[in-house]
C-alpha cells in the first residue's frame, strides 16, 4: 500500500520550485498540517502566509498577492474552500483573473465520520460553474505531481481537489502518461467506456480488467481535468462503444457525470450510467465503507456495465 498522500506530493513539488522562485507563496487557514504543508512553512517561512481560520480572507489575500506578482497556492479543506469562500473564488480570483491556485484538501468524503459539514460533494459543480475557473482532480500521487508541475507553468486560476488519505498508485514511477487538459487513456475498449476521476480511477481500472476477463472490452479514461473537460478524447473513445459509465466521488449534479453526459447528449447520445454519491448526507463511515455502500467500486462498475450491455 502506498503511504504517500497526494497532498504531500503537492508540498514537495512546490518546495522544489520555491527554492528558485521566491514568488511562490503557500497560504493556509490553520490547515497547514492537514494540507501536508508544514514542511513548506518550516522551510520557506518568508513565502508562507497563515490566515487563521478565515477561508474568505485566505482566498482574498491570495488574490491580492497575485495582483503584485506573487504565485499563491491556497490550501484549505475542500468543504470550506469551495463553499465558505465561494464568492471570493468567483469575484477575486476567477472574475478578476488573478493567478491563484486553490487546493481543496481532504476532498469528497475523505473526512468520513465527521459528517456532511466536512464533506465536499459539491465542489466540482460549484467551481466548474464559475467562468474562468478550471477544475482538476488527480487520481494518484504521480499524476498529482505532474499536474502541479503543469499548473506552476501557467498564470490562470484553478481549483485542485485531492483526498485526505494515501491512495494506491494508478501509474508507476517513470511511467506516468500526462498531457495537460488531456484525459489519460488507461485502456482501450470497444464495448463500454468508463470515465473516472480522482480516487475512482483505480476501481475503474480494476473494473476494466475484470470486464476483460469476462470478454467485455472496456475503454477506461482518467478524466482528471473536469474543466476544461477533454471532450475530444471523450467523443473519440465514445464513438467505438455501446455504453458509457461515469464514476466520481461527488454529488450526482454538476460534476464529472453531468459534464460527460452534457457532451454526449449534444454530440453522440449513448446509453449511460452515472455513478456518484447520493443527493443526501452520506452514510457514516470511512471512505472505503462509504464507496462500497453506494457501489462506487469495481463491483459497482462491473454491474453497471453488464446492465447497460444486456
Amino acid at each position: 500500500m502506498n503511504k504517500i498522500h497526494n497532498r504531500q506530493v503537492i508540498c514537495e513539488v512546490l518546495m522544489e520550485h520555491a527554492k528558485d522562485d521566491k514568488d511562490i507563496v503557500v497560504l493556509c487557514s490553520d490547515s497547514r498540517g492537514s494540507a501536508s504543508m508544514t514542511p513548506f512553512f518550516d522551510n520557506f517561512p518568508e513565502q508562507s502566509v497563515e490566515t487563521g481560520i478565515a477561508e474568505q480572507d485566505l482566498v482574498s489575500i491570495s488574490a491580492g498577492l497575485a495582483k503584485v506578482g506573487k504565485k499563491p497556492w491556497a490550501a484549505s479543506p475542500a468543504c470550506f474552500l469551495s463553499t465558505r469562500s465561494y464568492e471570493q473564488a468567483k469575484v477575486d480570483v476567477a472574475y478578476s483573473n488573478t493567478n491563484v491556485k486553490l487546493i481543496g484538501i481532504s476532498g469528497g468524503v475523505s473526512y468520513g465520520a465527521l459528517g456532511m459539514s466536512h464533506h465536499s460533494a459539491q465542489d466540482f459543480a460549484a467551481m466548474a460553474a464559475i467562468p474562468n475557473m478550471r477544475v482538476y482532480c488527480p487520481s494518484d500521487r504521480h499524476q498529482t505531481g505532474k499536474l502541479v508541475e503543469a499548473l506552476l507553468k501557467d498564470t490562470k486560476p484553478a481549483y485542485l481537489r485531492v483526498g485526505r488519505n494515501p491512495v494506491e498508485d494508478v501509474y508507476t514511477e517513470g511511467n506516468v502518461p500526462f498531457e495537460m487538459d488531456k484525459a489519460t487513456v488507461i485502456s482501450e475498449g470497444t464495448d463500454v467506456l468508463i470515465v473516472a476521476c480522482g480516487e475512482m480511477v483505480l476501481p475503474a481500472k480494476e473494473a476494466g480488467e475484470a470486464l476483460a476477463r469476462e470478454g467485455i472490452s472496456a475503454c477506461v479514461l482518467d478524466m482528471y481535468c473536469l474543466k476544461p473537460l477533454d471532450t475530444k478524447t471523450l467523443l473519440e473513445k465514445a464513438k467505438n462503444v455501446k455504453a458509457v459509465i461515469t464514476i466520481e466521488e461527488h454529488a450526482p449534479f454538476g460534476g464529472l457525470g453531468a459534464s460527460v453526459a452534457q457532451c454526449l447528449v449534444e454530440n453522440d447520445p449513448k446509453k449511460a450510467k452515472l455513478l456518484a454519491l447520493p443527493d443526501s448526507p452520506v452514510i457514516t463511515g470511512v471512505s472505503k465503507e462509504v464507496f462500497d455502500y453506494y457501489g462506487l467500486n469495481c463491483e459497482g462498475i462491473v454491474k453497471a456495465a453488464k446492465e447497460l450491455l444486456a
Binding site: 490566515t51 482574498s60 491580492g64 488573478t98
Partner: protein, 281 residues
Amino acid sequence: MSENLKKTAYELRDYTLDLIYGAKTGHMGGDFSEAEIMTALYFGVLNVDPKNPEDPGRDYFILSKGHSVEMYYAALTKRGFLDADDVMNRYSRFGSPYIGHPNNKLPGIEMNSGSLGHGLPVSVGIAKGLQMDGKPNRVYVLMGDGELAEGSVWEGAMAAAHYKLDNLTAIVDRNRLQISGPTETVMHHDDLAARFTAFGWRVIVTEGNDIDALLKAFAEAKTESNGVPTVIIAETTKGKGVSFMENKAGWHHKVPTAEEYAMAKKELAAKIAELSEEVTA
C-alpha cells in the same frame, strides 16, 4: 492647490450626474458622498500614472464599495486613464466595458468588485505582497459604512494588524445611510473608531467632504506607525452637493427625473462657478 481640488470634486459630481442621467442607472448618493475622497486620492495622494497604469512602482487603489463606480469613472477620466466621451456614451450600454461595477480589464482599475466586503482582504494581500518584497508602494481601499456589516471586512482588519501592514490605508465613507435607511437603524456601528482601535488599527476621524481635512488625514496616514495599519473614517454626507439629494436614503440608486436633473445641474454649476472665482481671487 486645494482650492482647485474643491472645484474638481464638483466637476466630478457634474460628470457623474450626466453619466447616471444618460444611462438611467447608477448610485448617485454614494458617488456624491465620496467625491472629495476620490478627488483627494486621484489628484493629491495616489502615485499613479495614466501613461503607465501597470507601473510596478504605483500605489494601489481598490474601490470596495464597487457600486459607486460612476464617481470612479469620473476620477479615472479626469485623471486621464479613460476617455471621458467614450465612458459617457457607453456606460452601462449593451456590450460596454464600462459596467455598473469596477471592471479590471480597464486601465487604472486593479480588481473587480461589486460584492461588498472583499476590498479590504484583497488589499491586505496586495500590501502583504509588497511588504514581502520590501517595496515602498502604498495601498488604499475605500469602503462604505453599510459594508462594514460584512464579516469578511473584520477578517481582513484582523490580518492587516497581524501582518503589521503599515503600507495599508483604509478609508470608510461614513455617510450614515444605506439602501434601507440609517446605518444606525439597519445595523448599529457608531463605535467604529473603537472597533478599529480594538483590532489594532490607527484611527483618524476627519470631515470627509473637506479636501483640506482629507489631505491632512492622508498625510498623517503616511507617517510612521510602526507596523500599524491606518483607517481614515471620513464623515461624509450622502448625496453631498445637491441640496435635495443630501441625507436621503432614497438617492442611494435613484435616477433623477428631467426636472431633478435640471435642478441638480444648476446647483452644481453655481457651485463650480463660485469655486472658480475663489481660485482666481
